[in-house]
Symmetry: C2
Subunit: 470 residues, 2 copies
């Protein structure tokens, strides 16, 4: 990899006719971090809405072997946009002009800088829904969601970002503009480049436009809250609900540590001695959700819930969901450093994974809080620590490694929705095997032989290990 020379800078500045080129250290510093760990200063930051200028920059970078780091709002929890090798950061959050809803085709056409929540709102105005709902949707761009294949609570019923992308416009690592897929839900014309690029974390190209599939918005929804004395009973309730023929739109779990954290932060009368709280949302036809909420309540009671509540009004429903939304801010107040994991296991292994997590918590004496999307096995074990405490961070590193091992041993995966980035690259071979990882690497090398697109992500460097302490 080359560093950027003054000749490069001159060429970059002459290429970017309609946008801005940031070179001041104070400007560049704002682009040196994301929602994960570490700071890496880029050599130059470019803001432009012009696809032609972006393509010309990628051609330049490819010719001169300069790293290119595409970036949205940098809410990544896995280091996706970090410019770990310096080079160029392309700030795509400025590409926020295009947000069209074509209701007759049930699609949205968007530019990468659009905030995901704005797509939700635009679709709802037309009676439609864009289902993927990452918790960050009010602050994250669709471009980032596409790069990382973001999930969210509704993944249980509706799937993840990838399931709603049917077409892309991308700039290849050679700086060529290509289109993949299109406006049809069914398309088997050659390899599915769309679904290869979504989730490839910016390592295979730059997404400059996307066609998203929308669905009619379900006309009604209903929530059930159930409190359990035992985490295992909560797990059994979740299994039994699936076997009763109901597919909820959300099924969220809070463990005792989450309940206590929320009660310490903003008390709302949740029982501090309960081991688990589950929140289930049903959506669909108005009479169907009433009926299903009753069935779900029955199942929870049969399994031994100590309390089951079906809020009647919109305000009551929001009150119930507020507890779940407060978990992240509540635990962030305990200690300054929050390590948010997303190791995911098959649904049936949730009780076993909960047990393993409690063992890891004790073994390494870490402050572990478990909550998340229980319905699809995508738990969020969060460890709360203080990164200035080197000894604690060593224990946290060991605990995190063991969480990954437990997930893979139970037939699960390192990452359900946050991505690999820099954080989990060292663990890739554990899940995929040397051959599986090699088949991924062959695609990367064929598309990007000079390794300019987001280098340092997904693929482990020789000897790379997890480092949370800087």
């Amino acid at each position: 990899m080359k560093t950027i020379t003054s000749a490069h800078l001159t060429e970059i500045i002459s290429t970017v006719k309609t946008g801005r080129v940031l070179t001041d250290e104070s400007d560049r510093f704002s682009y040196s971090f994301d929602g994960s760990f570490g700071t890496y200063l880029p050599d130059v930051v470019i803001q432009t809405k012009s696809v032609e200028e972006l393509a010309a920059l990628v051609k330049l970078a490819n010719r001169e072997k300069i790293p290119v780091y595409p970036r949205g709002q940098a809410t990544s929890l896995s280091g996706g946009p970090l410019p770990v090798l310096g080079g160029m950061v392309l700030d795509l959050s400025v590409m926020d002009d295009l947000l069209e809803i074509h209701e007759e085709d049930l699609v949205a056409v968007v530019s990468p800088g659009i905030l995901t929540a704005n797509i939700h709102n635009a679709a709802e105005k037309k009676g439609l829904m864009y289902p993927p709902d990452p918790s960050s949707s009010h602050v994250s761009t669709i471009g980032g969601n596409l790069a990382e294949n973001s999930g969210g609570p509704r993944g249980l019923k509706y799937g993840v970002t990838k399931d709603y992308v049917i077409g892309l416009e991308i700039i290849t690592p050679q700086g060529e503009l290509i289109r993949t897929g299109g406006r049809t839900v069914k398309n088997v014309t050659g390899y599915d480049l769309t679904k290869l690029i979504v989730g490839s974390e910016g390592t295979l190209g730059i997404i400059t436009k996307a066609i998203l599939r929308l669905i009619p918005k379900p006309p009604a929804s209903k929530t059930v809250m159930a409190i359990f004395n035992s985490l295992e009973d909560a797990g059994r309730a979740i299994s039994k609900i699936f076997c009763s023929g109901i597919l909820p739109s959300k099924m969220e779990l809070m463990d005792q540590a989450s309940i206590v954290a929320v009660e310490n932060y903003q008390p709302s009368g949740l029982p501090r001695d309960a081991e688990a709280l589950i929140l289930i949302e049903l959506d669909g036809h108005p009479s169907a959700v009433i009926d299903e909420a009753e069935q779900v309540s029955e199942v929870c009671k049969e399994v031994g819930a100590r309390k089951v509540r079906v809020p009647k009004t919109k305000a009551e429903t929001e009150e119930v969901w507020k507890a779940r939304k407060l978990v992240s801010p509540a635990i962030a107040r305990i200690k300054p450093t929050k390590i948010s994991e997303d190791a995911t296991v098959p649904r049936s292994k949730i009780p076993e994974m909960c047990r393993r997590l409690q063992e890891i918590k004790k073994k390494y004496n870490v402050h572990l809080v478990v909550f998340g999307h229980a319905g699809d096995g995508n738990l969020h074990p969060n460890i709360i620590a203080d990164k200035s405490d080197k000894e604690e961070m060593k224990r946290v590193e060991q605990a995190v490694s063991e969480i990954f091992e437990a997930a893979v041993q139970l037939g699960g995966t390192l990452s359900g929705e946050h991505g690999i980035g820099t954080m989990k690259a060292p663990f890739m071979e554990m899940e995929l095997g040397a051959e599986g990882l090699d088949m991924m690497r062959k695609i990367k090398q064929a598309w990007d032989p000079n390794n300019i697109m987001n280098p340092g992500k997904i693929f482990p460097e020789p000897g790379q290990r997890l480092v949370l302490s800087e």
Copy 2:
């Protein structure tokens, strides 16, 4: 490419310890055709249930540059399993032992030779559903469905095969066994090889096991049949239903030529002078489907349907759907050769596509019948001809080319669910552009540098054109 020598044959026979090696011409002839056009005799056919033996055969083939053609039940309409360059056919229909339903994980684990209908039945016994429902599901294997990413009527609401595959075991073109994905719905660990391989038509490896996602079976369904004097009114009804917030599970169209063909074959009193018949299935909660069937009926009447019928009993419902199921056998009796296309357009372009198809029908004086999955833009224009009539087949070739052009011009795709195979390879660049096709070719070359896996498919040979006349 090498042809198979007697030394190769000796090595093949010594490798296949548990299965059969077919070398007689009469045996090999059964493997020379599929549901499309042309016959190509393979040099040898291998039947084995052993993944280790299959992997050893692929290693041998890769070393000796022998073409390898994986094959299920060969119902392909695009030439998927045709051994166009001779070599080895691997008959995977014998791998029919594994069909496990894990209801607690909402997954099925299957071997490639299982008939898709058997997965439907096994899932339903547990109150679950495997949504993809290609019309061939009673005779086609899941392995073939995976290779081609099969669709079906339920694609409208539930998506296609790819949307339900979360893990695979494959033999790479180097003869290595790798696993992709797993048992979790959410998985963002590296590139999505699962969705790259599904739909790659056997050109990137051999699928030896698959993990499929299941959903709770909807407890009720209801059908609405509507007859229209004008095809355009039928198109408007389809659009209006989507805008009313209802997502039907199926929405099928028959044009006048289809209605007439069915009435000539097995009369059931359908009006021969009607330009279009649509069949809509709603599924979900019992009271929801009753309500939605009423709404859909109202929309059809408002738009000007001349008759709307909601069958009350199961027998009446089956009677209504029988007409749609009879289209294929009915038109097959008109002339011996049936060219079944699946060019797909954005939903809003269905009326325009119908108009273009009628123009093409007149221009080339071909017997064109239009039916299919109107709800997702996946029409099936079928041309009925006689392949011994060279002059007619020339006109058919020109009509087919123009159908592809029309679909691509309207923002659609060459193939919605049948695949590219040999049939549509010459048209790939028209849809994808040279650069887009090149990015696909880079993946093929990186994974299979000796081009042994199903060579002659997807990627056009220089100067290749559509040939239906042999």
